[in-house]
């Protein structure tokens, strides 16, 4: 016996081959030879190991470690370390994408550890071109048992009892199919294997054929015996050359051993089979079409009945099963039905193989028990979504299937549940879609596929899919109309009912399923011409502009920076945003999250460039606009929404008066955001120069409902814009929260900003140890302010860091300054001595199932309580509006969430037509740019409403000075990261309120602007 001390099993599946298995293997063998180790090591090329994303991969035994993403040039080091020095080569091991932990052993990697391998039990363990290795792992033992010990009825009964259902998609009980064919009298019957894996995104059949072809052959022989057939075909698509090659090798070896052909294993049973190559027609995956194709004709489906079990291939009784179905058979026979059905759900037994692809870290092949939840597959096995993106949906069943969205991540995946959710199990393609995928575009993609692949036999399918595609294309190009969604649903019903085969009957599923879960996206495309995923390119000039709530023309001002025309850049910004120096500092920059440059290296620093302009160009002068309109308008609240609306209305010739409760305008910008992020004088001068200068009157220290009644405002003004914001902290709901020393997040910030001198001089103190509860921007702001007041600050957050709603750069800055953050901790009660806070008792949390937003819910860990001793607690877990100023009989209704209700069909008009609203008081806490957009919306709606009542023509924007936008693009794009924002040094900034970010220098800004890919200039 030849013994080797090491076995290297290198994956030779299609995925790994494409990543370079052949070259790596060659380099490995050369290196081993060079070092005279060829007697020590056996190198085996296996079938697909499943972890395709990180190929080529190799498992080294006896250690069981797995090396990934190997390159030929790694081989000398690998041999030196692993074989000569006996050490594991760390740098080629698996690194967990979220925790960055290195995991050497294959069976410890969650991707492998959480799987249950039955169909794939031999993957990566045997050489698929060596029948002996398969036999060593029980190949053909099940067949031997079926041929020698079992009757036809017994085989069928065993398969029936196992509960095995067809893995091709429809889930018909396999045993039942066999029984029908068995009962159908004929001398000639056929066993057919469907390896025409046409579903895009599914490759489990290819993988099984490449890794373990004998399992399929064995299953087919058993089926042949059960139904009384002696001839079989494997219909395999021509796109799978390696699978066909391995099958040919396996068939030849099995024939040589007498495991196929005449008198198998001396039992007198004959079965011969051949491979039939498909020629590229998706419809041939349908059973009757496949049979027609083997007969040498155009692959069109036939009517059923008669079913193939009665009259199939060449009108003879036939069974057709999928590759994965056959690969289950031998084990069922060998180990028994009760072994098989011990795993799975009530109606779906055994395991299912999924091809996990798309926007998921661990792309590959996954076999799990039926009933495993979607979240386990996507997050625990799949490692979650790359680049920290959000999970949007999983697409199951390809062009015949549908989407399962985030709210169903807890759903156990089996035939019934998947169907209930509007998808189908299909052959097992599971394509993960992140938030950057558009539901309408996905529906259009699949419709394009099925209309192309429709064989043309049934008119509803041939013509209906074309018509549906046309409508979806129109919607994606902004040419959709009201009623389109209903028409799509109606047509879908007709195609489903009037088509002969599975292709037509399921073709509308992707459309129906996306309408079911993402109807709002369809409506946005049709009504607002918006694609929030920024995919449907006909709807926008550039992703950044389309994503900006205020629609700022980002590419234009960036191009102007590149050309050194900063003043023009400033003018462009002011067209859509009255507060650019504010947004250049505190905007949440959604634009950057969709920047196409981000797919190449890093997104453009749009926010920093915006600030650069406002820091380095003179502010364009804004002259007063004379009042030309008779309607008087009041704005309640001088936050960004109110100020923007006031500015827009003043520009249109209205007299606008803004009422503000506090002593200065700015709302949250002035009273919540600390000065180290947004210096006061910058905000004040921007309000002064861009808004007051137009003639807007701002009445500070005037609270509506106190200093002037709500009715009075209603009497004095013709129209009123309600923008009071949301400046009341939500209670935590724990005992002790009314104690002295417990603050709400925004209340604390407001107190500090209003009484800065008292706080800084020590007249007011927060204490030496402070706990801040929450994970949003207010929590971080409060923590950083408390830190600057000299406190030792700990943030307590009940989820994980990646779930924190605060901007990542804010979290990093807080940590840099010395704020401690405890994750997975929730407050239970606040402790006191003499009516003053002296501690907070918390509980540790663990993550359990998913909530509707697709985040894991925190659940308390029993007995994990602990107490932190603190002098103050700041609760910043959310905010609501204070609506006490609105009188009950005003006709303006406030709902149970303390936000305004809107009139039907309007985006800003309240239930009293005189009153409009927007910003946090309408939507709940949102961003600055969201408030600016709300201000624009309300101003435009108010003006349109007034003009409509007066029967005046619609407002026309006065022509602005034409600013020529230069168009310069680099021929080649060189990878370069985002330019860093210079910052004040950590220790230096910890004790003062000076601005932390220092702003770009001119050269840096121009260099950064040159990174813009100018998506706005894309042609066609």
């Amino acid at each position: 016996m030849k013994v080797f001390r090491s076995h290297f099993l290198i994956c030779g599946g299609t995925g790994c081959h494409a990543s370079g298995t052949a070259k790596v293997k060659k380099a490995l063998i050369e290196e081993i030879d060079k070092r005279g180790l060829s007697k020590d090591v056996k190198i085996v090329e296996t079938g697909c190991n499943g972890f395709c994303a990180l190929g080529p991969i190799m498992v080294a035994y006896p250690e069981g470690v797995v090396y990934m993403s190997m390159k030929p040039e790694d081989m000398p080091e690998l041999v030196e370390e692993h074989l000569v020095k006996g050490r594991i080569l760390q740098r080629l091991l698996y690194k967990e994408p979220t925790t960055k932990e290195i995991i050497p052993a294959m069976n410890d990697i969650p991707f492998f550890a959480l799987q249950e391998l039955r169909v794939l039990r031999n993957r990566g363990l045997i050489d698929p071109e060596n029948i002996d290795e398969a036999i060593a792992r029980d190949a053909y033992s099940g067949m031997a048992k079926a041929l020698t010990e079992m009757t036809q009825e017994k085989i069928i009964q065993e398969v029936l009892d196992s509960g095995l259902r067809g893995r091709g998609g429809a889930g018909f009980p396999t045993g039942l199919k066999w029984r029908f064919c068995f009962q159908s009298p004929s001398d000639v019957k056929y066993v057919l294997c469907n390896a025409d894996e046409g579903d895009p995104g599914a490759f489990m059949d290819r993988s099984v054929l490449e890794a373990d072809p004998h399992a399929v052959l064995e299953g087919m022989v058993i089926a042949a015996k059960a139904i009384g057939s002696h001839t079989g075909y494997i219909y395999c698509r021509a796109e799978y050359p390696l699978a066909i090659h391995r099958l040919n090798v396996a068939i030849a070896q099995a024939k040589e051993y007498g495991l196929l052909g005449k008198d198998i294993l001396g039992t007198g049973f004959d079965f011969d089979l051949q491979i039939y190559q498909g020629a590229g027609a998706f419809v041939c995956g349908e059973e009757t079409a496949l049979m027609t194709s083997i007969e040498g004709k155009r692959g069109m489906p036939r009517t059923r009945p008669p079913f193939p079990a009665i009259a199939g291939l060449w009108q003879k009784p036939s069974i057709l099963n999928n590759v994965e179905t056959f690969a289950n058979i031998a084990q069922i026979i060998l180990k028994g039905a009760s072994w098989y059905n011990a795993v799975g759900t009530e109606k779906s037994k055994g395991t299912k193989v999924f091809a996990l692809t798309g926007d998921v870290n661990n792309v590959g092949l996954v076999e799990v028990p039926m009933g495993t939840t979607l979240g386990t597959i996507v997050y625990d096995i799949g490692g979650g979504i790359p680049r920290g993106r959000k999970f949007k949906a999983a697409q199951l069943g390809g062009p015949s299937g549908g989407c399962i969205p985030a709210e169903h991540l807890n759903a156990p995946i089996d035939f019934e549940r998947v169907a209930e959710l509007g998808a189908i199990m299909g052959s097992g393609g599971m394509i993960v879609l992140d938030e950057d995928k558009c539901a309408v575009d996905m529906a259009r993609f699949f419709m394009d596929f099925v209309q192309d692949e429709s064989c043309g036999k049934c008119t509803p399918c041939r013509e209906g899919t074309k018509r549906m595609l046309e409508m979806l294309t129109n919607i994606s190009q902004g040419k959709g109309k009201e009623g389109d969604i209903e028409l799509l649903q109606e047509m879908a019903g007709i195609i489903k009912n009037a088509s002969l085969c599975g292709l037509g009957q399921t073709a509308p599923n992707p459309v129906l399923s996306t309408i079911r879960y993402f109807r709002d996206e369809y409506e946005q495309h049709i009504r607002d011409k918006r694609c929030k995923a920024v995919v449907c390119s006909a709807l926008f000039k550039s992703p950044c502009q389309h994503t900006c709530p205020a629609g700022m023309d980002v590419p234009a001002y960036i191009a102007l920076i590149r050309s050194g025309r900063f003043e023009d850049a400033y003018k462009i910004m002011l067209q859509t945003n009255p507060l650019p120096s504010v947004c250049g500092r505190v905007c949440d920059h959604k634009c950057q999250s969709k920047c196409r440059r981000g797919k190449l290296d890093e997104a453009l620093a749009i926010k920093f460039l915006k600030r650069f302009i406002t820091d380095n160009a003179p502010r364009p002068k804004i002259s007063p606009v004379s009042v030309t309109r008779k309607e008087k308008i009041a704005v309640i609240g001088a936050g960004p929404a109110g100020l923007t609306a006031a500015r827009d209305l003043a520009r249109r010739g209205y007299k606008v008066t803004v009422f503000e409760e506090l002593s200065e305008p700015g709302g949250m910008l002035r009273w919540a955001i600390p000065a180290y992020r947004l210096p006061r004088e910058i905000l004040a001068s921007e309000i002064n120069d861009n808004i007051k200068s137009l003639g807007v009157e701002i009445k500070c220290n005037t609270r509506v409902g106190k200093d002037i009644s709500f009715e009075q405002v209603g009497k004095d003004f013709d129209y009123i814009f309600l923008a009071p914001g949301a400046q009341k902290s939500q209670p935590m709901g724990v005992p002790g929260e009314n104690l002295k020393g417990v603050y709400g997040g925004v209340e604390f910030l407001r107190d500090f900003n209003a009484n800065e001198e008292a706080w800084l001089s020590g007249k007011k103190t927060i204490g030496s140890k402070v706990a801040v509860i929450g994970g949003g921007n207010s929590a971080i702001d409060a923590a950083r302010v408390a830190l600057r007041l000299g406190a030792d600050v700990t943030i307590l957050y009940r989820r994980e860091r990646k779930d924190m709603p605060a901007a990542d750069e804010e979290i990093v800055a807080a940590e840099d300054e010395g704020v401690k953050i405890e994750y997975l901790v929730a407050p239970l009660k606040i402790a006191e001595t003499a009516g003053k806070v002296n501690g907070i008792t918390c509980q540790r949390m663990k993550l359990s199932e998913f909530d509707r937003s697709g985040r894991k819910k925190p659940a308390p860990i029993a007995g994990s309580e602990f107490t932190l001793s603190v002098d103050a607690v700041i609760a910043a877990i959310g905010q609501t509006s204070d609506m006490t100023f609105v009188t009950k009989d005003s006709g303006v209704t406030v709902n149970k969430w303390s936000t305004f209700d809107l009139a039907k069909g309007s985006k800003s008009q309240t239930t009293n037509p005189k009153f409009f609203t927007g910003g946090d008081a309408l939507t709940g806490p949102d961003t600055v740019i969201g408030a600016i957009q709300a201000g624009h919306q309300a101003a435009s709606d108010m003006d349109s409403h007034i003009r409509k009542i007066n029967s005046e023509p619609a407002y026309v924007e006065p022509p602005e000075d034409k600013i020529e936008i230069p168009f310069i693009i680099d021929e080649e794009t060189v990878e370069a990261p985002q330019a860093k924002m210079p910052e004040m040094h950590g220790p230096e900034r910890k004790r003062n309120f000076k601005e932390v970010e220092l702003g770009y220098l001119r050269e840096v800004a121009i260099q950064e602007a040159c990174r813009c890919l100018r998506c706005d200039a894309e042609i066609g």
């Binding site: 006896p62 000569v84 006996g86 036999i135 053909y140 033992s141 031997a144």
Partner: protein
Amino acid sequence: MAKLTIADLKKIKDKVHSETSLRAGEHRAKVTVHMGTCGVATGARAVMDSLMGAISEANVSDVIVTTSGCAGLCSQEPMVTVELTGQSPIVYGNIDANKMRQIFMRHVMQGEVQTPFAIAKV
């Protein structure tokens, strides 16, 4: 090749199974041959060949052979460490092909530590 019978199927299974059992993970012993520069220079290669030959002859499949770099005690090279599952490893020094064979037969197969060659218990 002649057609197989069911008995042949079993024979193939047993034969290949022992050749590939290394991939299954269980083992009775782990033998480490120290193959640093000094080890190789003093004949570790011959020791390794002798060990592999002995394993093959004994027809055992649950002994893991591995190598390591220099153990730092160059004067004692070639060195071999034998670790029976569940017991402390024993380090042997100044090993040659014959001693290796003896260690394998006595220590690995029968559990008797070969004290004359042993230099340490780790």
